[in-house]
C-alpha cells in the first residue's frame, strides 16, 4: 500500500503534562469514504479532532495530506487545506436567517470599491440549490436558524462546509444530541456528502450510528487505538462489543444481574 491517502494521521501522540491523551493513533480517510472514530467519553476523540483541525499540534507523529506532511498551526491552515470541521455548537447564529448564516464570514459581493454590496439574491439561490442537492428540505431560506430542528441545523452546517470546498469533513458528534429520527436525517446527509466525493471523518460514541454509514472504524479507548477495521472485517455486534469495552460490559451485565436477583 504505497498509494497516498487524502488525509492520514500517522502514529499521532499527544500529551498534556504527564497525561497521555493520545498514544500512537493512526487513521486515514480517502475521497468518497467515511471513517468513523468511535470512543466513549475521555477516549481522546476531542483531542484527536483538535489535532486534525489545527487547533492543537501533535507531540509525536505526522499529519499527511495527499502524502505530503503538513503542519497546521491554526484552524485556518486546516481550512485552507480543505479540511472543514463541523463542531457541536455549529457556529450558527440562531436569530439570523438560513441564507445569512450560510454565508456569514464569506459573503458573495457585487459592485466596486466601497460600493460593494452583499448579493442577497445570489446567496439565496445558492443556499436553495446547495441544500436541495444535498436532499435537504428547507421551506424558506429566510427562516431563522433558531426555528430549525437540531437535525436540520446540523444538515445546513454540513451543506455549508461542503459548499465552501471541504475535501475532508470532520463531524464532531453530529448525532449525539438528536432523537432517533433526526439522527437518521443527519446520517443520510453524511452519505450524501460521501456521494459527492467528500472524505468524511465521523466522530461518535454510538456504534449504531456509525455502522450503517462507515467504511472504516477506528476505536479509541483511553487514548489508545483498539484497532482499525474495514467494514468487511467487522460486524455490528462486534463493533458494539469492542466499543463498550468487551470485558467491562460483560462484567457490568453480571453486576446488573446480581442487582436484579437481590431485588
Amino acid at each position: 500500500m504505497t498509494v497516498a491517502h487524502l488525509l492520514e494521521a500517522d502514529h499521532i501522540s499527544k500529551y498534556y503534562g504527564n497525561i497521555v491523551a493520545l498514544n500512537d493513533i493512526s487513521v486515514h480517510v480517502d475521497t468518497g469514504e467515511v471513517t468513523c472514530i468511535l470512543g466513549d467519553n475521555g477516549a481522546g476523540k476531542s483531542s484527536f479532532i483538535k489535532i486534525l483541525s489545527g487547533v492543537h499540534q501533535a507531540d509525536e507523529g505526522r499529519l499527511l495530506v495527499e502524502g505530503e506532511e503538513v503542519h497546521f498551526t491554526s484552524p485556518r491552515d486546516a481550512r485552507a487545506a480543505g479540511i472543514a470541521t463541523v463542531y457541536q455548537d455549529l457556529a450558527m447564529v440562531p436569530l439570523m436567517s438560513i441564507w445569512r448564516n450560510f454565508f456569514l464570514g464569506a459573503e458573495p459581493r457585487k459592485g466596486f470599491g466601497p460600493l460593494q454590496w452583499f448579493d442577497a439574491g445570489k446567496a439565496k439561490g445558492i443556499v436553495r440549490r446547495e441544500l436541495s442537492e444535498m436532499g435537504i428540505d428547507i421551506r424558506d431560506p429566510d427562516q431563522a436558524v433558531g426555528t430549525l430542528s437540531g437535525g436540520e441545523r446540523q444538515s445546513v452546517a454540513i451543506a455549508r462546509a461542503v459548499y465552501f470546498g471541504a475535501r475532508v469533513l470532520i463531524l464532531d458528534e453530529p448525532t449525539s444530541a438528536l432523537g432517533v429520527k433526526q439522527a437518521g436525517v443527519v446520517l443520510k446527509y453524511i452519505l450524501q456528502a460521501r456521494e459527492r466525493g467528500v472524505a468524511v471523518i465521523f466522530i461518535t460514541h454510538n456504534p449504531h450510528h456509525a455502522y450503517p454509514v462507515g467504511d472504516r472504524f477506528v476505536i479509541l479507548n483511553r487514548g489508545q487505538s483498539l484497532g482499525t477495521f474495514e467494514k468487511s472485517q467487522i460486524d455490528r455486534q462486534e463493533l458494539v462489543r469492542l466499543m463498550a469495552g468487551g470485558k467491562e460490559l460483560a462484567e457490568l451485565e453480571h453486576e446488573l444481574e446480581a442487582i436484579k436477583v437481590e431485588v
Binding site: 463542531y87 455548537d89 455549529l90 457556529a91 450558527m92 447564529v93 440562531p94 436569530l95 439570523m96 445569512r100 454565508f103 456569514l104 464570514g105 464569506a106 459573503e107 459581493r109 460593494q116 454590496w117 452583499f118 442577497a120 439574491g121 445570489k122 439565496k124 439561490g125 445558492i126 436553495r128 440549490r129 436541495s132 421551506r139 424558506d140 429566510d142 427562516q143 431563522a144 433558531g146 426555528t147
Partner: protein, 349 residues
C-alpha cells in the same frame, strides 16, 4: 452555474401561501410603524384645534424634533443589533458642539475645518469606547456610562473655565458660518421644514442599506447574535464592533455640529438625557436589547413617534411634563408589541 434557475424554482408546496398581511406582521419594524400612525391620528384628534394633520407648519415642527432624535438613533440601533450600547451618545452632542464653538470663537477657525476636527474628535471617542469594550471585555453599558460621566464633567468645567458662563456663544460670528448653516441647519424654503430632516432621512437610508445589503450588515447581525459563532466562521467581530462605536460617536458629533450651527450657541449641558431617547427609538423600532435583531426603518418610526409626542403634547395644550410619562408608556407598549411580533415571526414561518 444554475443559481438563477434555482432561485426561480417554484415555491415549496408546504409553504402555505401566507397572505401579504400575515407576512407583513412578522417584520420587526411593523410595530413602530403602526405605533407612529396611531400616535399621529391620536394627536390629530387631541390637537385638532391647531389642525395637526393638515398644517405643514405643524409637521415641520415635529419632524424637526424627530430628526433631533432620529439621526443618532440610527447608529445606536446598528450598535444595539451588534450587541452593544453607547450611553455616551447624548453627551457627545454637547461635547462636539462645544468643541466647534471653542474652535470657531476662541481659536477663530473657519467653521469648515473646525467641523472636520470635531468629526475627528468623534472618531477618537468612538475608538476609545470600542477598544475599551473589546480589550477589557467589560459590558459596553458600563464602559460608555463612564465615558458619559467623564465627558459631562469636561463639558461643564471646561465651558465654565473658558467663558465664565455655562454656554459658548456667538458661534455665528465665525467665518464660514453661513455656508455651513445652510447645509447643516438651514430651513428648506417650503413650510419651514428643516434641512436636518433630510439628514435624518438620508442617514436612515444609509443605515438600512448597510444592514440589509452589505457584508458589514451581515457581520453586525452575526456579532450581536452570537459573537463566538461569528468569530468561528471568520467574521472580524472586534473590528465590526469598534466600527459601530466610531459610527455612533461620529454621528453624535455631526448632531453636535448641526445644533451649534442652528442655535448659534451651545449650552454645557446639551445632549444629556438624549442617550436614553436614542435607545428608546431603537427598542421601539424592534431592536433586541441582547443584540442580533432589529431594524433601522423601525428606529426611524420610533424617532417619528417620539417627535410627535414631544410636539403633540404642546399642541394639545397639555402640561408638557407629561412627555416623559408618554415616552415611558410608549417604550413599554412597544416592547410588548415587538416581543409578540417576534414570537410570531419565529413561529409563523
Amino acid at each position: 452555474m444554475a443559481e438563477t434557475a434555482a432561485s426561480k424554482a417554484p415555491p415549496d408546496e408546504r409553504l402555505v401561501s401566507v397572505g401579504p398581511l400575515a407576512r407583513l406582521l412578522t417584520r420587526p419594524d411593523i410595530g413602530a410603524f403602526l405605533g407612529a400612525v396611531a400616535v399621529f391620528f391620536a394627536f390629530g384628534y387631541f390637537a385638532r384645534s391647531v389642525n395637526w394633520i393638515g398644517d405643514p407648519g405643524i409637521a415641520a415642527g415635529w419632524t424637526d424634533q424627530a430628526a433631533q432624535y432620529g439621526i443618532v438613533a440610527v447608529p445606536v440601533a446598528l450598535l444595539m443589533i451588534g450587541g452593544e450600547f453607547d450611553l455616551s451618545a447624548g453627551v457627545m452632542i454637547g461635547s462636539s458642539g462645544l468643541l466647534l464653538g471653542y474652535l470657531t470663537t476662541f481659536q477663530h477657525m473657519n467653521v469648515w475645518p473646525a467641523m472636520l476636527l470635531v468629526l475627528f474628535f468623534g472618531l477618537v471617542i468612538g475608538l476609545i469606547n470600542g477598544l475599551a469594550v473589546i480589550k477589557t471585555k467589560l459590558p459596553s453599558f458600563i464602559v460608555t456610562l463612564a465615558t458619559f460621566f467623564v465627558l459631562q464633567g469636561v463639558n461643564a468645567a471646561g465651558t465654565l473655565k473658558l467663558t465664565g458662563q455655562t454656554a459658548i456663544q456667538n458661534i455665528d460670528t465665525a467665518s464660514g458660518f453661513n455656508s455651513a448653516r445652510k447645509i447643516f441647519a438651514g430651513d428648506l424654503t417650503h413650510y419651514d421644514f428643516k434641512v436636518k430632516v433630510l439628514w435624518w432621512i438620508g442617514i436612515t437610508l444609509v443605515g438600512v442599506w448597510l444592514l440589509a445589503k452589505t457584508r458589514f450588515g451581515n457581520w453586525i447581525y452575526g456579532s450581536g447574535g452570537d459573537a463566538n459563532a461569528a468569530r468561528n466562521v471568520g467574521v472580524p467581530v472586534a473590528r465590526t464592533k469598534v466600527a459601530l462605536f466610531v459610527m455612533t460617536s461620529c454621528t453624535a458629533a455631526l448632531m453636535g455640529i448641526i445644533e451649534a450651527l442652528e442655535l448659534r450657541s451651545m449650552q454645557s449641558g446639551e445632549g444629556i438625557g438624549l442617550e436614553f431617547i436614542f435607545i428608546i427609538c431603537a427598542v421601539v423600532g424592534g431592536c433586541l436589547l441582547t443584540g442580533g435583531f432589529g431594524s433601522v426603518i423601525g428606529t426611524f418610526f420610533g424617532a417619528a413617534m417620539l417627535g410627535m409626542v414631544q410636539l403633540g403634547i404642546v399642541d394639545a395644550q397639555w402640561d408638557s411634563n407629561w412627555t416623559f410619562t408618554f415616552q415611558g408608556g410608549i417604550l413599554f407598549a412597544a416592547v410588548l408589541l415587538n416581543t409578540w411580533i417576534r414570537s410570531r415571526a419565529q413561529r409563523a414561518r
